[in-house]
C-alpha cells in the first residue's frame, strides 16, 4: 500500500512533468494556431457581431469579429471617413446610405452570382435602390423592418394605432415619445400629410406643412429618447406611444411579455433596410463574402430574425421557410407567414411601405435644424 502510494506519487510527479513539459513544448504551436485566427473588423449597428449572430461562423472558420458599433447612418459615414482606408473589412449599412458609401469609394464591387438573388421574397430586393451602380453590385440586402405606430396595448386600441392621428389622442398628452432621430419621425409626419411615396421628396410647401404638423404634436410629446430610453419608456409605461420606431424595439419587449406592439397605419409605414458591403481595401474579402453568404443562408436569416438586439424580417424565401419551421411563434408574431395580413412582403406589394431615404429637396441640415427647433418648442 505504502509502496503503491509512493509509486503513485512518483508517477504523478513524472506525469506532471510530462504533461507540463508537453504543454510547454506545444505552447508555440498553440500560440501559432491561435495567431492564425483571422480578425474581421466589422462596422455595424449594435448586435450584429454578438455571439448569437456570429459565434457559429467564428468557430467554423477560425475567425473573430471585432465590432465597431455605430448609431445612425451619419455616424457610420463619419467613422469610415475618419479612419484610415482598410480599417473596416465588413460594413453593415442602412440601405439609404449605401449610395454615399459607394460614391465616397469606401466599398468594393461584389459578384452578384455569389448571392441568392433568385430566392428573394420581393423583386425590389434584387435591385434595391442605391445598391447597384452602372449594373454593378456594391451591397447585399440582409434584412429589414417596418416603422409605424408603436403603442402600449393598454392605452390604445389597434384601431386607434392604425392611423398617425392616434398620436394626437388627448389621453396621450405627455405620453408620446420620439425616437431621437429626425428621419423616421419626420418621415411619419410626411406620411400623415398624405405625401405617400414621395415622403422624403418634398417641395417647400410640403416641407412647411410637415413642420406645421410636427409642431402640432409637440404638446403630446413626453420625451426624446435613444434606444435605451425608448426601451425603458415603453417598458415602464412612461410612454404609451412612440413615433419613429417599429417592431425592431417593440418586438424585443413583446418577446419579454410587455403589452406593446407596432402596426403599419393606413397612411403607410417606412422600411429600414440593412445591407452588407465589403470594405474597398480589405485583404479579407473572401471570408467577408463567405460571411455574407452565411447570413443569407436559411440559418443566417433565421439568426437575423431572432437577433437578440433587435429583430428584422427575412429577405429570402428559404430563410422564411426555415423560420416557419424552427420558430413559428416568432414568424407569426412578425407576420412572416404566407397569407398573413401583416406579412411585411404583402405590405410592400400593397404599396403601404416606403423605403427610408434622405431628404431629396432639402438638406439633412435643414431637417436637423427643424428637429432642434421642435425639441426646443
Amino acid at each position: 500500500m505504502g509502496n503503491n502510494t509512493k509509486t503513485t506519487g512518483a508517477l504523478t510527479r513524472r506525469h506532471l512533468m510530462q504533461v507540463g513539459g508537453g504543454a510547454l513544448l506545444s505552447a508555440p504551436f498553440v500560440s501559432r494556431a491561435w495567431a492564425q485566427t483571422t480578425d474581421i473588423n466589422v462596422l455595424a449597428w449594435y448586435g450584429h457581431a454578438e455571439p448569437d449572430m456570429v459565434a457559429e461562423f467564428e468557430a467554423a472558420n477560425n475567425v473573430r469579429f471585432v465590432p465597431k458599433y455605430y448609431a445612425g447612418g451619419d455616424n457610420m459615414l463619419a467613422l469610415i471617413a475618419q479612419s484610415p482606408p482598410g480599417t473596416y473589412d465588413l460594413i453593415l449599412s442602412d440601405g439609404e446610405f449605401v449610395q454615399q458609401l459607394n460614391a465616397a469609394g469606401y466599398i468594393q464591387e461584389m459578384e452578384a452570382a455569389d448571392y441568392p438573388f433568385d430566392d428573394m421574397l420581393h423583386e425590389d430586393f434584387t435591385k434595391f435602390p442605391g445598391h447597384w451602380a452602372d449594373g454593378k453590385l456594391y451591397s447585399m440586402i440582409l434584412r429589414g423592418g417596418h416603422l409605424g405606430v408603436s403603442y402600449n396595448r393598454n392605452a390604445m386600441s389597434e384601431e386607434e394605432a392604425s392611423s398617425y392621428d392616434g398620436f394626437w389622442k388627448p389621453e396621450l398628452a405627455g405620453k408620446v415619445g420620439h425616437f431621437d432621430w429626425h428621419l423616421p419621425s419626420l418621415g411619419m409626419m410626411s406620411l400623415k400629410n398624405g405625401n405617400g411615396a414621395s415622403l422624403f421628396d418634398l417641395t417647400d410647401d410640403q416641407w412647411q406643412a410637415v413642420q406645421d404638423t410636427t409642431m402640432s404634436l409637440r404638446p403630446q410629446v413626453g420625451g426624446y429618447f435613444d434606444y435605451g430610453g425608448t426601451f425603458n419608456g415603453l417598458k415602464n409605461g412612461e410612454m404609451q406611444a412612440m413615433c419613429g420606431i417599429g417592431d425592431w424595439i417593440t418586438g424585443v419587449l413583446e418577446r419579454d411579455g410587455a403589452p406593446v406592439a407596432s402596426v403599419i397605419p393606413k397612411e403607410g409605414g417606412i422600411q429600414w433596410t440593412e445591407s452588407y458591403s465589403i470594405g474597398v481595401e480589405t485583404e479579407k474579402a473572401d471570408i467577408c463574402k463567405q460571411f455574407i453568404q452565411y447570413m443569407l443562408s436559411p440559418e443566417g436569416q433565421v439568426k437575423s430574425a431572432q437577433m437578440l438586439a433587435y429583430p428584422g424580417f427575412c429577405v429570402t424565401k428559404a430563410g422564411r421557410a426555415m423560420l416557419n419551421e424552427v420558430d413559428m411563434a416568432e414568424a407569426e408574431r412578425t407576420g412572416q407567414v404566407d397569407g398573413m395580413a401583416d406579412d411585411p412582403i404583402t405590405l410592400i406589394r400593397e404599396g403601404r411601405i416606403h423605403y427610408r431615404d434622405v431628404p431629396k429637396q432639402q438638406t439633412l441640415e435643414d431637417w436637423n435644424d427643424f428637429w432642434s427647433e421642435y425639441k426646443n418648442a
Binding site: 445612425g72 451619419d74 455616424n75 459615414l77 463619419a78 471617413a81 475618419q82 465616397a104 405627455g174 415619445g177 431621437d180 432621430w181 429626425h182 410629446v221 413626453g222 420625451g223 426624446y224 429618447f225 435613444d226 430610453g229 425603458n232 419608456g233 415602464n236 409605461g237 412612461e238 439633412l364 441640415e365 431637417w367 436637423n368 435644424d369 428637429w371 432642434s372 427647433e373 425639441k375 426646443n376
Partner: protein
C-alpha cells in the same frame, strides 16, 4: 535691494510637469477646439479652413439661444436647490455633530463618487417612474401617481445626484472652519438662530459657500446625463444640442461653437463668483 533675475532652474524643474500637463491637456485642446470652430465639414469629414460660417449659423439660430437661456435657467435652479437642500445638513455636520460623526459623514458623502454617475442616474428610473417606488408610497396615502420622469423635476433630481454630495462637503468644510466663539458671542448678545445664520455664519463662510454654488452651477450646466435620461430631452440643454449637432452630418465645428459659448459662460460665472467671494475681504 536688488532682485535676483537669474532663473531658478531647480524650482522650474518642479513646476515644469504641471505646466506641460496643462499645456498638453488643457490649453492644447482648447486652442484646437477654437480652431475647429472655423473648420468645414465636407462629405462627413472635417477639413481645415478659416470660415465664420459655423459661428454665423449657430449664433443666428433661435433654438441655440433657447437652449442657452434654458441651460442657464435650469443650472441656476439646480444651484439654488442644491444650496438650500445642502445647508441644513452641512450646518448640522459643522455645528452639531461630533468630530467623528462629521468625519464619517464626509466619508459617506464621498462614496457616491466611487460609483458611476450613469448607473446612479438609471437607478432613479425604478424610483421615479409612474409605477415606481415613490409613486407606490404616495399611493398608500391616496396621492398620485405623478409624472416625474421626463420632466424638469426629473432633470433636477439628476443634477442633485451629481452635485449634492459635493455641495454638502464644501458647505460643511466652509462652516466647520468658522471660529465658534463668534457664533457663541452672537447667541450671548441675543442674536436669534436665523439671524446668527444670516449675519454671522453666512458672511464668515461666504467664500466656501460661493465656491460650492459655483461648482454646483458648473457641473449642472455641463451635464448631459440628467436632462437626457431623466428629463427625456424635454429640457434641450446645450450639452444635448452638442450631441444633436454631431449626430446629424457630423458637424463637430458647429458643436465646437456651442462648446466655446459654454466655456465662456462658465468662465464668466467662475470669475464673477471669485470676485464676489473675495471682494469684501480685499476691502476690509
Amino acid at each position: 535691494m536688488t532682485r535676483n533675475t537669474k532663473p531658478d532652474f531647480y524650482a522650474l524643474s518642479w513646476r515644469l510637469p504641471i505646466i506641460i500637463w496643462q499645456a498638453l491637456f488643457f490649453l492644447g485642446p482648447i486652442v484646437f477646439m477654437i480652431a475647429m470652430s472655423f473648420f468645414l465639414v465636407k462629405n462627413y469629414r472635417m477639413t481645415e479652413a478659416f470660415e465664420f460660417v459655423n459661428w454665423g449659423r449657430m449664433m443666428t439660430r433661435g433654438y441655440f439661444w433657447d437652449s442657452y437661456w434654458h441651460t442657464i435657467w435650469i443650472a441656476s435652479l439646480s444651484t439654488l436647490c442644491g444650496m438650500l437642500i445642502a445647508f441644513p445638513v452641512a450646518y448640522t455636520l459643522a455645528f452639531r455633530a461630533s468630530e467623528n460623526t462629521r468625519r464619517m459623514a464626509i466619508f459617506l458623502l464621498i462614496i457616491p463618487f466611487f460609483t458611476s454617475y450613469l448607473v446612479r442616474t438609471f437607478s432613479w428610473f425604478v424610483i421615479l417612474s409612474e409605477s415606481g417606488v415613490l409613486n407606490a408610497m404616495l399611493g398608500w396615502v391616496g396621492l398620485g401617481p405623478y409624472t416625474m420622469l421626463n420632466t424638469t423635476f426629473g432633470t433636477l433630481v439628476g443634477y442633485m445626484t451629481l452635485t449634492l454630495p459635493l455641495v454638502v462637503i464644501l458647505q460643511t468644510l466652509a462652516m466647520a472652519n468658522i471660529d465658534r466663539s463668534l457664533v457663541e458671542a452672537a447667541h450671548n448678545l441675543g442674536c436669534k438662530p436665523l439671524q446668527t445664520i444670516w449675519r454671522v455664519i453666512l458672511p464668515l463662510a461666504k467664500t466656501g459657500m460661493i465656491v460650492a454654488a459655483v461648482f454646483c452651477f458648473i457641473l449642472s450646466f455641463g451635464d448631459f446625463v440628467a436632462p437626457f435620461y431623466l428629463g427625456g430631452s424635454q429640457d434641450p440643454t446645450l450639452p444635448i444640442l452638442i450631441i444633436d449637432t454631431t449626430k446629424s452630418g457630423q458637424q463637430w465645428p458647429r458643436a465646437a461653437v456651442v462648446a466655446i459659448m459654454m466655456m465662456l459662460t462658465l468662465f464668466a460665472v467662475a470669475f464673477a463668483g471669485i470676485a464676489l467671494a473675495y471682494r469684501k475681504r480685499a476691502m476690509s
